[in-house]
Symmetry: C2
Subunit: 199 residues, 2 copies
């Protein structure tokens, strides 16, 4: 499917039919998300995958009882990860494994480290959140490309999600992407004109 068709076809599903997405399709989606763009390539996020019904039911009241939560096949909780230092250390190891000359590694990680040191925790969170949304975009377009549907959701309680899912320290849930097969029909797309958006 051409990318243009994907963005035309994708819509925010209001209700899924509970059918389960095959595991190999989920694996393909993870690969698409893994290849997302991010600032410095640091991908400052962790993504919690929920596929058991019991946990989905627990998350439902923490998500304004929206029916996507307990009718979806899989639910991904995209969490901004402000352990940036740790991400840089891992990145350094990956560069070493890729056989990149030590001098280049030092130059690149030097820039990253300087950037990290200049950021307060609040700024880290806002920067990490932005990168997370690039991954969210790949997730929802990726779902359509693989033949299933999705709904990105901001309407939930990050505090309750953190408790219910026992999320690690320094990971902040910013978006939930529910995945499955639609049990509703897309409504006509309402979009601003090019004139409204571009200048």
């Amino acid at each position: 499917m051409e990318f243009k068709e994907i963005v035309e076809k994708r819509y925010a599903v209001k209700k899924f039919d509970k059918k389960v997405i095959p595991e190999n399709k989920i694996e393909e989606l993870l690969e698409i998300i893994r290849l997302s763009a991010s600032s410095f390539g640091l991908q400052p996020y962790k993504i919690k995958i929920v596929d058991d019904q019991e946990t989905k039911e627990k998350l439902l009241p923490a998500s304004w009882n929206q029916p996507q939560i307990n009718t979806c096949s899989h639910l991904m909780v995209f969490c901004a990860n402000i352990n940036v230092k740790e991400q840089i250390e891992k990145y350094e190891e990956m560069m070493e494994s890729a056989g990149i000359p030590l001098e280049n590694i030092k130059a690149y990680t030097g820039v990253m480290k300087g950037f990290e040191e200049g950021l307060s925790d609040d700024k880290k969170l806002s920067w990490a959140t932005k990168q997370t949304y690039l991954a969210v975009g790949n997730a929802i377009n990726g779902a359509t490309s693989l033949g299933f549907d999705s709904c990105p959701m901001e309407g939930f309680s990050p505090e309750e999600y953190s408790k219910i899912l026992d999320l690690p320290e320094n990971t902040h849930p910013v978006t939930v992407v529910t995945l499955g097969y639609a049990a509703d029909e897309p409504r006509p797309k309402i979009r601003y004109s090019k004139k409204d958006l571009f200048f």
Copy 2:
């Protein structure tokens, strides 16, 4: 091209060859961006398109002299737009034009208005910025799908951009996407493992 190939192929170009992207291709890209997902469908952003060399040269020092700026064909400045009230009013008009029953329009815009009223300007900016990144994602994947290249860039001075481009009040530049044809080669992709990102 399948979406998976797009995300595999896309990379952040360091230098373009100055060749100009045909206007019809740019129009196709705008359509792809216009169809981006956003919270409530409100697309709280404005995108400034720069295609003249003189302006690119002016932006260069405000962008740490990165060579993408003055070697690209087109440059898009993605600005978060915190005139959310105005966006809601326009959305209401679009729903009316689409023939949606008045009752449904009132219910939907009521929720949007309640949301907007609860937000400080700072929160509006952070919410609008997140939506903007979904559009950035479509821009860079869209470029690859249409046969040209891109580089999303956060390394620039929003204040100087606002001045040079005389950006309207309440629009805050958050990312620049440079577009063109690569004059460099992609380096091997370095990415965290699934184990590092998903849990």
